[in-house]
């Protein structure tokens, strides 16, 4: 047992757990803002106004049509040139997840809201609710239920995307693994543990999601 504790599999763990914390923070905070962006742009994609629809469509197409790796480089190295100040690595990572996931979530929101029967909003409007009240009390609560499975899926995708931020040396899970084998040459052991830690988050998340999906099905 002691011998096992002394292997690279175990000795890498303190580093990786520290990295996992950053991975989870970036994913969590990023998706929080990503959901806000997604809700705004998703509803904008349903707008009758051509301008609002156009802006939202451009946002979605640009962010979905470019790789997230290019996006993080753009935010971390590109933007400061124009802004005149630097963005720290964690903030840049959170922004990247937020704007990238925001585009995908916008499509999730649009689809879910669009899927609610038109009769629902007609019933709301016919009793005298405003457009905003109808959205808030009638459409959104029903649409949100339908968003849960695809949002869970987006969580898994965004969690894995954070590994790309190792290119700007954010101390997330993959980067910490790289650092460890850079010093010890124990790449197999370090990367095995890196993958196991991702799975420790994503597998339970998938199982939980499937359960939620089944419950929403009825």
């Amino acid at each position: 047992m002691d011998a096992f504790m002394e292997t690279h599999y175990m000795r890498v763990m303190p580093f990786l757990l520290e990295g996992l914390v950053y991975t989870l923070i970036i994913t969590g905070v990023g998706l929080f803002f990503g959901f806000i962006l997604g809700a705004i742009f998703g509803l904008a994609r349903l707008s009758k106004s051509k301008i609002i629809y156009g802006i939202a469509t451009i946002y979605v197409e640009v962010l979905r049509g470019t790789p997230i790796l290019a996006q993080i480089l753009f935010i971390y190295f590109g933007l400061p040139d124009v802004l005149g100040f630097n963005i720290d690595k964690i903030t840049a990572s959170i922004i990247a997840i937020a704007v990238n996931a925001g585009a995908y979530i916008a499509e999730i929101v649009r689809g879910a809201v669009y899927s609610i029967d038109k009769g629902q909003s007609e019933a709301g409007r016919s009793i005298g609710l405003t457009r905003g009240q109808t959205m808030r009390y009638i459409i959104w609560p029903q649409a949100f239920k339908r968003m849960i499975p695809p949002l869970g899926n987006q969580f898994v995708i965004s969690l894995k995307d954070t590994s790309l931020f190792s290119v700007i040396a954010v101390g997330e899970l993959t980067y910490m693994g790289q650092q460890y084998y850079g010093l010890t040459f124990a790449a197999f052991e370090a990367l095995t543990m890196v993958c196991l830690l991702y799975l420790a988050i994503t597998v339970p998340a998938s199982i939980y999601l499937r359960r939620v999906e089944r419950r929403l099905d009825v």
Binding site: D117, G119, S126, I127
Partner: protein, 240 residues
């Protein structure tokens, strides 16, 4: 109470209403009959502006709905509507469905709104269903909840858009009973329906529509007894 003047409505190139003139007096029950695609539902939906009007005027208690300054949300509180497919809010209980309008629009407190909902539930015979969700109700029960939901806003006019068309035959009666009671109480009603028995018994006036115009308009006795228009005769001979 309702006054429609030269109402036209088009969906793209398709003109569905071709110049409708109609007046509905207070406490009157007007039944609109006619074949599918005749524009009768569209006419009804123009009366609370669920459909935008292409041209012409719709006046509710003297207020012209086509006037851009008019507050349509306020007018809609006075004009209840019941839909063919009920359109109950599935994420809310029966009681919540009924009290949503009073709470959010009139600012009535939750307790007050729920107290006011009790006589409405009694009226539609569903006092025991206050706390269930719509999915556990039969079609007829759903439609009666939908009627109670509209009544909760104390409307002066009720619009019914084929309220029994989606119901199993044995459930139609209960809904029609509730509507008859409303008519007796003096509610102003416009009812688009395929229930000729209801139109004959409860309607003060029957309107026969076809191809976007009012073909004939008369008392039920006259329409069902001796219609003037050959199209009316042809239609009635098919449905009766």
């Amino acid at each position: 109470m309702i006054s429609v003047r030269d109402l036209h409505k088009s969906f793209g190139d398709n003109e569905v209403l071709k110049g409708i003139n109609l007046d509905v007096n207070p406490q009157e029950v007007v039944c609109v009959i006619g074949p599918s695609g005749s524009g009768k539902s569209t006419l009804l939906r123009c009366l609370n502006l669920l459909e935008e009007v292409t041209s012409g005027d719709v006046l509710i208690e003297g207020q012209n709905l086509t006037d851009p300054k008019v507050n349509i949300n306020e007018i809609r509180t006075k004009v209840g509507m019941v839909f063919q497919h009920f359109n109950l809010f599935p994420h809310m209980t029966v009681l919540e469905n009924i009290t949503l309008g009073p709470k959010k629009i009139k600012g009535t407190s939750k307790q007050e709104a729920e107290k006011e909902a009790q006589p409405l539930l009694e009226k539609v015979g569903l006092s025991d269903k206050a706390n269930v969700y719509p999915e556990s109700l039969s079609g007829g029960q759903k439609q009666r909840v939908a009627i109670a939901r509209s009544l909760a806003m104390n409307p002066k006019i009720m619009l019914f858009d084929e309220p029994t068309s989606a119901l199993d035959p044995e459930l139609v009666g209960d809904v029609l009973e509730v509507m008859k009671d409303l008519a007796k109480e003096g509610m102003t009603m416009v009812v688009v329906t395929h229930e000729m028995g209801f139109a004959r018994e409860v309607g003060d006036r029957v309107i026969f529509m076809d191809e976007g115009i009012i073909m004939e308009e008369n008392t039920p006795e006259k329409i069902f007894g001796a219609p003037d228009n050959p199209r009316t005769r042809e239609f009635l001979s098919k449905v009766l």
